[in-house]
Amino acid sequence: MWKSKKLLIFPAIYLLMLYLPILGAGDHVNMTDLSFNLRHVGLLANSMKLALLSAVIATALGFFAALYIKTGFMADKWYRYFFILFLPIPFYTYALSWIYFIRMFSIPFPALLKYSLKGFGACLYVEVLEYFPLALLLALIGMESISASDIEAASVYKRLVIVVRDIVLKEIAPYLYAATGLIVILSVTDFSVPSMFQYNTYTLDLFSVYGRTGNVTLVCLKTLPVILLMLVPLSWLLGGMRKFGTVKSGRLKMGIHLNGWMRVVSGLAFAVCIIQILIPVITFIVTTGSVRVFADAFSSVKEELLVSITVSLLAAIFGTIIAFFPAVMIADSDNGVLGTVSMLPVAIPGAIGAMGLLKVVNRSFLHVLGDSVILSAIGCGIKIAPFMVLIICIYRRYTDRHLTEIAWILADKRKKAFLMECRLILPGLMIAFMLAFFMTYAEEGIMLVLMAPGLEAITVKIYNYLHYGASEYVSAFCLISVGVIAVIELTTLAIYRLIVVGMRK
C-alpha cells in the first residue's frame, strides 16, 4: 500500500509546505550582498563551538541520568518520563531563574553579582539545561530497547564498566548520535539565546541582516553555509534513526547495580535533572511573593494562554497531517535522499521561514488566514514537521511488520487496513503530536512574526515583560506557564496510558 505512486502526493505536499516559504519569498538579491568572508567564518565557528559543546554536555548528562533512572527504583515506574517535564519550557525561564537566584543571594553575598549571566558561558549554561531533557528522553527510549537478559548474562562475567560500554552504550549509541545531531541543529539555528547573552553567532548575524534589509531570500541564501554544515549533524540524526533498536525489553529495569565512579557520575547527572526543575520552580514561587500577584497575573494572561494552547493544538494537528506519510515512507523505504531533503529546512531559523510564509501568504487569497491563529499554527507546524517525521519514523521502526502485513491480508477494505496500521503506530503519533504541541507552546520567534492582531501568545508576553525588567509578574507568568505545561503533560500521560493499555488489551 505504502509503495503506491499515488501516495507520493503526500511527501510532495510536505516538501511544498516546507520549502515554499523559503523559496517563495521572491525578494530581489544583489550578488554583492552575498559575500562570505573571514568574519562569517568566525561567526560560524562561534555557532559550532556553542552547539557542539552544548550537545556533548547535554547528551552526556542525559545518558548518565537515564542510566541512573533505569537502574534504580524508578526504572519501571510510570513517572520515569516525568523528568523531561521542562522539555517545553522556553529557554529564558532558565535564564530568568538564574538571574533571580543570583539576585536573591546577592543581598547577603554581594560578590555573587559578578556571576550574572553573560557571554559564551551563559549561553552554554542555558542551552545545556534547555536541551538536557531532550537528550534524557532519547536516552531513556533507547535504554528501553535493550534486552534485560543480555545485560544480566553479561553482568555475570564482565565488570560493570565493560557491560555499560559494550552493551548499554553500544545499544543506545544511535539514540545518543540522534540526540547530539538534533541538539547541534537546534542550537545552531537559534538566535534568541546568543542574542540575550551577547554572544555573536552566524544565525544572530543573519537576523541582523534581516532586520536591516527585510530580505527573506537574501537571508535564506546566506543560510546555505549553515545548511551545508548541518549535513553532518543531520547525518548523525538520520544515521542514528536508521539504527534505532527494534528489540523491546521484557523488563523495564536494567539488571545492573551501579557502583564506584559510575554511581557518582550518574547520581550527579540525576541531580542536574532535579535542579533544572526545582530551581526555576522555587525561585518563581519565592519571587512571585503573594497569592494576590499570582491571581492578578493569571487574570491578565488568560487570553494569552488560550491563544498559546489553541495555536499549539492546531500546529500539532497540521504537523501530524503533513508529516505522517513522509515519515512512514522514510521508515519503510530507507530512502536517504527523501530523509535528508525532509530534514534540511530545520537549518533555517524559524522566524525567517515565518517571514517568508507571511510574504507568500500575503500575495495570495490566503492572506485572510493572517487574521486568525491559523497562520501562526501553520508556521509553527512547518517548523516542527521535520521533528515529527523523526518521531513517527522511529515508532514505525518499532512496529512489528508482521502485524501490519496480516492487517493488509485480512482486512476486507483498504481503509480498515490503513486504520489498523495507524492504530499500531498510534503511540508514536501521540508522542509526535505532543512534542509538536509543546515545541509550539514554547515558540517565541515564529509567534512574534505570524501573531494575528490581538492574539498574543504567552511566550511573547513573558518575553516582552522580561525585557522591560524582571518583576514579580514575570515570575508569576513563568510559574503559570510551568503549571499549565505540567497539567497538560499529566493529562497527556494519563490519556497515553489509557490508549496504550487499551490497545494492549
Binding site: 562561534n46 536591516r212 494537528i317
Partner: protein, 338 residues
Amino acid sequence: MHKTMKRAVQAVLLLIVTMIFMTGCGKSKEVVVYTAVDEVFAEDIIKGFEQETGIKVKVVYDSEANKTTGLVNRIISEEAHPVCDVFWNNEFMQTIKLAQSGLLESYESPSADTIPDYYKAADHTWAAEGGRARVFLVNNAGIEGKKTPGSVRDFVSDEYTGDELAIAYPMFGTTKTMAAALYAAWGEDEARQYFETIKAKGVNVVDGNSVTKDMAATGQVIIGFTDSDDAREAIEDGADVTMVYPDQGPDDMGTLLTPSTVAMIKGAPNPDNAKVFVDYILSEKVERQLVEAGFYDLSIRDAGKDGSIKGMSVPLEDIYDCMDVSAADMEKIFSDAK
C-alpha cells in the same frame, strides 16, 4: 475502544473550533494596531481607548530584540493586503522609512494642531509626540572616585574602561537612531571613529536598553548608555543609580530626544476607527499620561520652554538620511565575531 476514540476525536475537534471562534471572532468595531511601544505602557493606554470609544483594539506588539524593525518588515510584507490600521512606533526613523516607501496614509489629525510642525510630516503621513531622551544611567557606588560623565564624548574617555560601560547593539532600536543622529551632528568620520572606539575599548554591547539598565542597576557596569524610560524604571526599583542627561550646557549640542510617532497605513482595513485611534494617541491627555507613567521624558508640546530638557537641534529627516550609512557601519563594527 474504537467508540471512545471517535468520541475523543470529536470532542477535540469541537474544542478547537470553539477556541478558534473565541480567539478570532468579531470585526465590526475594531482597529488593528502594530506598536513598538513597551507593552507594559501601551496596555493601559489601549484599555483607556477601548473604554472611552467602545472600539476594540487588536494589538501586535514587538519584542525588544527586534524592536520596530520586525513590525516594519511585517507592514512592508503585508503591502498587498494590509492588516494593520495604525502603526504606533516608539521612534521616528522607521516611520519615515515607511512614509518614503509610500505605505502611509495622509491624515491631518485635529489632535496634532498643538504639536510643533518640526514633529510632523509635511504631507501629514505621520506625527510625533512625547519623547524619551538618551541618558547615562550611572551606578552611584561604582562612580565613586571617578568623574560623572557630562557629555556623549565622555563615554569613550580614558576615565572608564570598557568593562565599566554598557550600551545596546547600535544595529537596533533607539541606539541605532542615536548612531545616525551622531552621524548627522558630527559628520561621518567623527561619528564612525566614536563607535570604533566603543568597540576597541571592549564596552559591553548588549541586547537591548533594558539589559543595559539592568547591568548598571546591579553594578555590573558603572555607566549604562540607555533610554530615560529604562533608567526611570531602575530608579523606581530602588537601584542605587543616577540618571544623567548628557550635553545640557549652554554650548552643548543637547541629547537625542526620540519622540514616538503615529501613522495610518495606506489601505487600512478600518480607516474610520484608525482615525479615532490616531486622534486619541496624539491627544495631549495621552501624551501627559505617558509622561506621568514615565514612558516619555517630556511632552514635545513643552519643547523649548524654560526648564525643559535640551534636545539635539538636528532635523529628524537629516538623521533619517544618515541612517543607511551609519547602519552599514554599525553592522561592520559590531557584528565582528568576538
